[in-house]
Symmetry: C2
Subunit: 152 residues, 2 copies
C-alpha cells in the first residue's frame, strides 16, 4: 500500500547527508551522523528530547541544542520529516521516500502509517477548486486501535 522504491541502507542515507552538507558549503560532523543513524533505526517517531536521551545513553557527548539544530537542518533538507500530534511538540522520522499520513490511537498513542492514492488525488482536487496550488499536507486520524477497543 505504501509508495515504495528499493529500500535504502543506512550507508546511503549518510552519503546523502554528506552530499547535502557539502553542497551547502558546510561541514559534516560526528553528531549529525549519530542523529541520522538513530533515526534510521528508530521504530517510532521521536521527540528531540528522546533523541538526546537515547544518544546520551549510548555515551555520546551531544548537547540538546545540537539535536534541535541538526533536526532543523535535516528537515530543511527533506532528509527527515516532522509531525505534530495535538499540542505536544514535534516528532521526527527519517524520510524514507514514501509520503504517508498517520493514524493515532488516542488511548495508547500507537501510530500507524498509511498511504492512499485516492485520498491524495481528492486533496489535489479540493485545493484546485479553491485555486490553491497544493504543496504539502498533514492528515492525522485519531481513534481507538483494535487493542484499545477490546480493553474498553
Amino acid at each position: 500500500m505504501m509508495k515504495s522504491e528499493r529500500e535504502r541502507g543506512l550507508r546511503e542515507y549518510i552519503e546523502e547527508l554528506k552530499r547535502r552538507v557539502k553542497e551547502r558549503g558546510l561541514k559534516h560532523s560526528q553528531q549529525r551522523e549519530e542523529i541520522l543513524t538513530l533515526l534510521f533505526h528508530a521504530r517510532r517517531h521521536l521527540t528531540p528530547e528522546e533523541i538526546y536521551n537515547q544518544l546520551k545513553r549510548e555515551k555520546s557527548t551531544i548537547g540538546l541544542a545540537t539535536v534541535y539544530r541538526t533536526l532543523a537542518f535535516l528537515e530543511q533538507e527533506n532528509i527527515v520529516n516532522s509531525i505534530s500530534f495535538g499540542s505536544e511538540g514535534k516528532r521526527y522520522e527519517l524520510n524514507r521516500g514514501g509520503h504517508h499520513d498517520h493514524m493515532i490511537c488516542i488511548r495508547c498513542g500507537k501510530i500507524v502509517e498509511f498511504y492512499n492514492e485516492e485520498l491524495e488525488a481528492l486533496q489535489e482536487e479540493i485545493a484546485r477548486r479553491e485555486g490553491f496550488v497544493l504543496i504539502t499536507h498533514q492528515l492525522n486520524l485519531y481513534g481507538l486501535c483494535p487493542q484499545c477497543q477490546k480493553r474498553r
Copy 2:
C-alpha cells in the same frame, strides 16, 4: 458545500454555554461570556494571546490565565475547536456545528475552510481497514493561494 444547519445567533451560544456550566455544577462568569462573544464575532482563528489583547483593548480586566482556562473548558465542552498549524501554538474558533478542514497559504497565512463528503467517507474507510474506530481527524492542506501565486 459546508455542512450546515440554521445559523445560530450569539444569544443561543451564550445560552448553551450557561447550560453546560450549570450541568457541570460550575458558575457562569462575565469573562467566559466575553471570550465566547469575541469568538462569535471573530473572522479568523485566534490565539489565546490575540484573544487576551483584543479583550484588553475593549477595556476588559481579564487575565491571560483566565483566557487559557476558559478556552480549555470551552474546548472540552466542544463549544470551540482548536487547530494547530505547524509548530505555532493552538488557534481557536467557535464550533458552528459544521465539521470542516483547513487549507492554509504558506505565503500569506490565509486560511480557507472546506468540507468534502467523499473525503470524510474515505477516511472512515481507511481507518476501518486498520481496525481503528475513528473519533476525529485533522487535515491541513498547505499551498499557495490564488493571490500569492500571482505575486510570485
